[in-house]
Symmetry: C2
Subunit: 382 residues, 2 copies
């Protein structure tokens, strides 16, 4: 994996760049649609490509449970399994082990947990996490980390940072060892990121980032954001972490977020984002627009023959009106979810193009100001 | 609506033709995907067009309940509501009133019934059925009929035929009256069909067909088929009805059916078909192939990296293998249903193209023989 910086804003750390992977170029800042269980819910891979998605995220935890590592190996890896020609970033599995599974016991060796599907006892170590992602053929793999809850005591944070660094080092060692083996995986183009933890402590964040930087990784994720903390605190944690990261490496904030959060974090120097919001909210009948969210099940849309957004050029907005979308959602018709999913992903990917264009043309400051003005307006309007 | 016969088989009544509607040409024999509640379940309208669907069916009963006639009128009719540029055939609502609603009381005026959604008391008359379809902007409307159950007593059949003819006459009168009004609906291009009933009685079928023919309609549907009778009996009823129908008008068998039944009924001279099978079976994880059905949830597909069908050129078969489709279905992922729906509709529409090509090139007899041979083989093989 190679990362090339193309331009930066003058008044902030915002920047554009280009990630070259074994499965194509990814223009950054980039938003990665989330394919939890081997599919970005409700959308054809060909439509993802048409929307301009160049990289998706797959969850190691979910794929570990089903189809499982043996099946994935037999089937020739994730790209072939999913029929997805673009790049794939995999998470380490750690976050889901902590949030979804039961009966976790954790020590320096790794985490023992029970599958939330069938209660089967499983074990994840930093070595296994990297090995699994490698076999899956991930273009961008993550080291196993320990994500402390929010809020956490300072001893919990200390412990999480210590273990995250320890595990990252062991993950990197596994990565190196696999590369030297004859398996062919990970490929020379694949990249390994480490994840910075430290909760709300600027000191611990800095320490964690410096130690991971010293070990050396292809890029860095900022973890423990969007785990329940106030949003302003999440932004502060990102800002305090970024200053300790190598500017020549890509930075990734996991699980974030709302469009405005993405804009703010780009402004702090973040390059990669993923979030379930556009696809999840679509399943709940909610559409993103330039003027805020629309909850399509509302009776107010019964006779509304406007598209979701008059400014939007997506398939949904070009062909269908709100009254029909409401009818589909009220009738529990799958097409309603399909159309909203397309629209919401288009909205996110279009926002990212807008961000990149603003940076490219040296217009980041007015772009940011406009985004902030709109956000204020629609918050006050709704 | 105009119907033009293009060619016929020499040894049977099979034929090809062309229906010109206010929303494009429909090459017959044609299969109509079913859009029960204003959507062909699980498929984008653009993909339906790409698959070669030129006409879909919408169910009057379902649309009468939701969104309802007032809303549909305000929203400018079905085509605009659905964002569907092709032709739309609407059924009369009668069949669903009998099969889905409760508390039906029927007399010559019409049917009183309770909505299966909210228990609301509703009334459907032959006049209202035609008026609703007209307001909906249907390209091909159906007269209200009484579909007797199977089996039915001969007095039940007598009654159903008498009422079906009576109602068809009143439906046609309404159609004529509406056309002379200033509403602009039905348009001059729209067509009205009558439905032939008569159960398993060749005599009653003949009587019904003759009487409806004397009233005069744009085409004729053959009802009361696929309502629980043995399939051979359904085929016999179709054969015995067709001989009484004007060869210059299109013939439509409602709710049929399996691919082999369609082939056999084309052989009997039928031009139009609709059926929920390809979309419904997709939701149950079943795919049609040239070698019979595949039930994708079966464990035997766990490691199967073959496409659903090696001969199939659909998007699903070009990009995804059985193991992945099985994974999606087992994970209850919407994409599994979307991909199988595309494939099954492709299979049906491809079969119709094969049928038309065989007729066009004077190769109907060998085509039919090959279809029958295959059917025998896969029945014996499975």
């Amino acid at each position: 994996m190679k990362f090339r910086l193309l331009a930066s804003a003058t008044e902030s750390r915002a920047r554009i760049g280009e990630l070259s992977t074994g499965h194509g170029l990814v223009q950054t800042p980039a938003f990665l649609p989330v394919g939890t269980r081997g599919t970005v819910k409700g959308v054809f891979p060909r439509d993802l490509l048409d929307l301009g998605a160049s990289m998706i995220l797959c969850n190691t935890y979910h794929l570990l449970l089903r189809p499982g590592i043996d099946l994935l190996r037999s089937l020739g890896g994730l790209h072939r399994f999913l029929g997805w020609p673009g790049a794939i970033l995999t998470d380490s599995g750690g976050y889901q082990v902590f949030s979804l599974s039961s009966l976790r016991s954790i020590d320096d060796r790794g985490v023992a947990f029970r599958s939330h599907l069938d209660g089967k006892l499983l074990f994840l170590s930093p070595e296994l996490a990297v090995e699994f992602q490698s076999i899956a053929g991930s273009d961008l793999a993550m080291s196993l980390d320990e994500c402390p809850p929010w809020p956490a005591s300072s001893s919990e944070l200390d412990q999480a940072v210590r273990r995250t660094v320890l595990w990252a080092a062991r993950g990197k060692e596994t990565w190196r060892r696999l590369r030297e083996s004859c398996s062919g995986l990970p490929t020379p183009e694949a990249g390994l990121f480490a994840i910075v933890q430290g909760g709300g402590s600027a000191k611990l964040r800095g320490l964690c980032a410096e130690e991971l930087g010293a070990i050396g990784f292809d890029g860095f994720a900022i973890g423990g954001v969007s785990v329940g903390e106030p949003v302003e605190e999440g932004l502060r944690a990102v800002a305090e972490t970024v200053v300790h990261l190598d500017p020549g490496r890509p930075r990734y904030v996991m699980g974030v977020g709302e469009p405005w959060q993405i804009v703010e974090m780009v402004n702090l120097g973040v390059d990669l984002f993923d979030c379930v919001l556009p696809t999840r909210l679509a399943r709940h009948g909610v559409a993103y627009t330039e003027r805020g969210r629309l909850s399509l099940r509302n009776a107010s849309f019964r006779l509304d023959t406007e598209p979701l957004s008059a400014e939007c050029g997506c398939y949904t907005c070009r062909h269908f009106h709100r009254a029909y979308l409401r009818h589909l959602l009220k009738s529990e018709e799958i097409l309603g979810v399909m159309l909203l999913t397309l629209h919401n992903l288009y909205f996110y990917l279009c926002l990212m193009r807008g961000i990149r264009r603003a940076l490219e043309t040296g217009r980041w400051d007015p772009f940011l100001a406009e985004q902030r003005r709109r956000r204020k307006e629609y918050k006050e309007g709704s």
